[in-house]
Subunit: 382 residues, 2 copies
Amino acid sequence: MVNALHMLGLALYLGRKLSSWMSHLSTAGYRHPLARWKGALLGVTLKDIAAEAGVSLMTVSNVVNGKQARVSAATRERIMRLVKERGYVPSASARSLAARSSRLVGLLVPAVGESSLTIDPHTVEVVGMLERELRRLDYHLMLRGISRRGEITEALRSWNLDGAVLLGFNDVVIDRLTAADVGDVALVAMDSYSENPLALEVRSDDFGGAELAMRHLVGLGHERIAFAGPAFSDTGVVRQRFEGYRKVLAGQGIAFDPALASEVETTHAAGLEYGRRLAAEHPEVTAVFTTADILAIGLIEGLAAAGRSVPGDVSVVGYDNADLAVYVTPKLTTVAQDLPGKAAEAVRLMMDRLAGKDRPEQAVSLDVALIERGTAGPPPVG
Amino acid sequence: MVNALHMLGLALYLGRKLSSWMSHLSTAGYRHPLARWKGALLGVTLKDIAAEAGVSLMTVSNVVNGKQARVSAATRERIMRLVKERGYVPSASARSLAARSSRLVGLLVPAVGESSLTIDPHTVEVVGMLERELRRLDYHLMLRGISRRGEITEALRSWNLDGAVLLGFNDVVIDRLTAADVGDVALVAMDSYSENPLALEVRSDDFGGAELAMRHLVGLGHERIAFAGPAFSDTGVVRQRFEGYRKVLAGQGIAFDPALASEVETTHAAGLEYGRRLAAEHPEVTAVFTTADILAIGLIEGLAAAGRSVPGDVSVVGYDNADLAVYVTPKLTTVAQDLPGKAAEAVRLMMDRLAGKDRPEQAVSLDVALIERGTAGPPPVG
DNA sequence: CTGAAAGCGCTTACAG
DNA sequence: CTGAAAGCGCTTACAG
């Protein structure tokens, strides 16, 4: 039943096409019909439009591409109408092959082996914004998980990408990219502190964000302040935040205690476990600066499980100002990044590069802001 | 400084290429060098490999595409080595143009005008899983926001997509798709209840999910149960859940009270506002079934603000089992969908269709499960 | 097992 | 303002 309907729809659609199809057959000689089935279905090409309009391919091409100066207003009108009527859509692969540009931008995201892409909420927003900016500029976006190093190059090459955004890679991965890998793709590395001149860099002021959080905590009167984040000994975003933490500590004459800096994964579960441990092992700590909201929220729950309340006993500052931050009680004090700015700058840098401009000397660094809510207060008295 | 480094890298890379480039110039006559700059950079083609190996284009093509039977083991070896050495990556656009298939799948998501894609957490997971499945099958994924109806067709056509997944569209949008729009693209409509035979449908058992939630609530002893979700008068997912709600009510001999079914947006803020209103206007309500976790969490906060506790005074059941559900206190009782199953089925249907199999008679419907946590309990006594 | 020819649907770089 | 030719890098459908 359903299949019958399906076939009916197809048949109706094919009706229109059939006559031109038949005549094509007779003039061009027999070619296995199924071989060109798809072509026949999707089929309106520049050539078709040109034939109907009685002009050359070139003229239609010029009209479609808006090279107005090259075509008279009259023929332009006529062609535009035909294009609309026949539902002509240019073939992007043909364009990409013939022209220098594919108008295709890759969004490359790390993928761990066989597991699926884990795009954190923070990244998702950036993806959505990138897509919009790029769509406005008439670029298309290709989403690709990268599980082996060589896949980056493959991705750039095979689809002849004009640009690509690297989202969430370690600095070392960016560092290792060579000119042979990159070719002339306009490559933007987001949140990277790599010095690789082949990549354009857009990031937040991570060092400054940590300073903001720490100054707030210190201003509130805290002295025993812990730090929690993933892999902060590496270079990169987390390292910067760690350095910001240490700098404020040093500025206050507070000695850095390595026992108070913990490597904690960016998950709720890891945060929870860390909270329990912290309460047990370091009861002297009155505040924690974390590098992610989700970690902070887990931490707060872990602290609560150990009988320590936030912000009464311990103050907590998160990072990212995720939606999540206002769903929990008390609402999370956190550092907000300028996500729209990040996306916009990434696209701007890419387009500048594509337009042949020189790479800027400095990486683009976006401002951050402290959002004071309910999880940071003065330390408990006594 | 940075620019100098950049140039240096480029120069080093170009070194290798330069000699073949020069000879090409002299034999082929002068062509504006910059015109072919990009080609020169990315440049290893089938032809290059064929020339180096001393065989024809076709032979290399056969090797690269794994048509083993057609090439002797010896030449295959030699060619494989060259391909590796020279870092040959096939041009996807050339393939797409020459062959019947682009190995490109579109991920089409509604975009409201100029605003950026809003991909809810639930959708993000599906995207990640789709990407992985598709990548394993050697397909690429194109992410595209759709703001006008015609853009669906444009997207399918311009990149000659083999398949596409429609994520988050209203049923009416799916309904209106014609064979001319779809062509022979393998189209999967996720979470759609459209009857359009041109789309393959994958969804959860939304009706059953509502039944599960409602039976739980009824079993706990509730009788005044409210329903909250967006646009449930439309067809589609939310409508199905609404019907499930009504069916259980009817089964229990409880009269449906339209005043207890509220149209509430799927946001925390809307949930919060709804919670306040519900507490004020319908103090008799002892339980609420909502169509989204985020709404449920807002609702719980609104209820709390009005002095009503969950689950003491009011029970709440969410939907989706978002990560969020366990971050709040008390943890959310909710209905979980089989997200990996959804992604896997979508890909399976698409591949079957691409392999020429008939469209299945039935839409694929995935099982749901009730996750009992802390927000649903017996109604207050008295 | 191997290859020469034609063509996919466009754009580029010209010449008129 | 308009168009004929060459070519982008592949695959298809053959013929040997």
